[in-house]
């Protein structure tokens, strides 16, 4: 239908989450129509990201510097480390401005099905960070799924011999949630962790 370069662009855009071949084609059409205002800046931004994005050697998040912006921010509480599964979870907590400490990205969670064991996750990095004297609390913010909670229990066992305070996110009724519409699992978790 179009030249190979355009077809390639459609093909790669269609691989992104939320985009299928049709929506990718529409996006490409927009890019072609608005070359100067959209295509050129996007191309520059992609090139810059490709050249500069690194994985933080301390926490495992992605940023354009190493150590990342969060790890080098002096206003953050270095005594608290929040452990998350993926960079997306870190971004969610940052969006909510819910955490003033630092983070540690595991890069996934324990999953027998996908062959992900502790060796495949950034556990050794967490252990060495926990040994630093300034660290006093670890917040485990893994997902409330069977695999996420299995990972949380594993980390708690791993840090059992340290003097650190280890806490986990609460599970329960979401803000604005009505009991009648909640799933049974959330209700059970909420009732179990009532205070």
């Amino acid at each position: 239908m179009a030249g190979q370069e355009i077809e390639d662009l459609v093909k790669y855009l269609a691989r992104l989450p939320g985009l299928g071949p049709r929506s990718a084609r529409r996006a490409v059409l927009q890019l072609m129509r608005r070359r100067e205002s959209l295509l050129d800046p996007l191309s520059d931004a992609l090139q810059a990201a490709r050249d500069n994005v690194k994985t933080c050697s301390s926490c495992g998040t992605i940023d354009t510097r190493d150590p990342c912006t969060i790890c080098t921010d002096p206003r953050r509480d270095e005594s608290v480390i929040c452990v998350v599964e993926d960079v997306g979870d870190l971004w969610a907590l940052e969006r909510a401005q819910a955490m003033k400490g630092r983070y540690h990205v595991l890069g996934g969670c324990l999953s027998a099905l996908d062959g992900v064991g502790p060796e495949e996750l950034n556990m050794s990095g967490l252990r060495s960070r926990c040994a630093k004297p300034e660290v006093s609390e670890i917040i485990i913010a893994t997902n409330a799924t069977v695999e996420g909670q299995t990972t949380a229990h594993y980390i708690m066992d791993m840090l059992d011999d340290t003097p650190l305070k280890v806490t986990r996110l609460a599970h329960g009724v979401p803000v604005g949630g009505e009991l009648d519409y909640l799933d049974d699992g959330t209700l059970i978790a909420a009732m179990k962790s009532r205070r």
Partner: protein, 242 residues
């Protein structure tokens, strides 16, 4: 083709952006897989956690198709287990081990064992022995059941204290004497349902079933025992130490 049944969700993996392929275990149909449209959605993800019960409807044009599944949430056993490492590893281990049962073949006795176990979750002194019994039942269902009815050497039915690692048959204390270091201990609660099951005996039970599951079920299909099972055993050892 269509059926509806209560089923235990034993596995769920994402398929594409929004769907999921799940593995369920029901009394009438055994282990069945199917595609759940919207299985990755915020509404369905809590229901599709391994260990939860659901009323499942499976539909396909031909029986050999993967088919699609729709679900109504049942009891959320996974949510009940999430906060307890021992329970969570127990439920995860059970779900992982059910995946060795043959697909689309009913195992009603095994299903009943699973249901009794799930009903007793929370009472560690009850569900842990039941989990060992579940593994015994699983061995039996896949054709490698242990014979604990009489001594393999002498035929006596009393004083059965050990199990042969080769034949999977019970051995009496007298016959076991020359081979004590080569035989497995036979926990008393496996012979007498009313007997108490201390944690040491439960560990002995898992050692016994683990040996036969590994040698006779997992190794021939080039798999290893589920990591969740090892975590469960580690958790029991930790309990014993404390």
């Amino acid at each position: 083709m269509q059926w509806t049944a209560d089923a235990l969700i034993i596995d769920c993996r994402p398929h594409g952006e929004s769907s999921a392929i799940i593995d369920v275990f029901s009394r009438q149909h055994g282990r069945y897989m199917g595609l759940v449209r919207g299985g990755n959605s915020r509404r369905l993800r809590p229901i599709l956690q391994p260990g939860n019960m659901a009323q499942v409807t499976w539909r396909a044009r031909l029986s050999e198709h993967l088919g699609t599944m729709t679900l109504d949430a049942g009891r959320a056993y996974a949510a009940e287990a999430l906060s307890d490492p021992l329970l969570l590893s127990g439920v995860s281990s059970m779900c992982a081990m059910l995946q060795v049962t043959s697909e689309r073949q009913a195992h009603p006795r095994l299903y009943d064992t699973v249901m009794v176990l799930l009903e007793e979750l929370g009472e560690a002194e009850v569900w842990l022995p039941l989990l060992v019994r579940f593994e015994m039942a699983l061995l039996e269902e896949v054709g490698f059941g242990l014979d604990l009815s009489c001594c393999a050497a002498t035929g006596v039915t009393t004083e059965l204290t050990h199990v042969s690692p080769r034949s999977g048959r019970a051995v009496s204390l007298t016959a076991a004497q020359p081979y004590l270091d080569q035989l497995f201990d036979l926990p008393n609660f496996l012979l007498n349902a009313q007997a108490e099951a201390p944690l040491e005996e439960i560990l002995a039970g898992f050692t016994l079933t683990g040996h036969f599951l590994e040698r006779r079920v997992y190794l021939p299909i080039q798999l290893v025992l589920p990591p969740a099972r090892q975590r469960l055993i580690d958790n029991i050892r930790r309990l014993l130490k404390n």
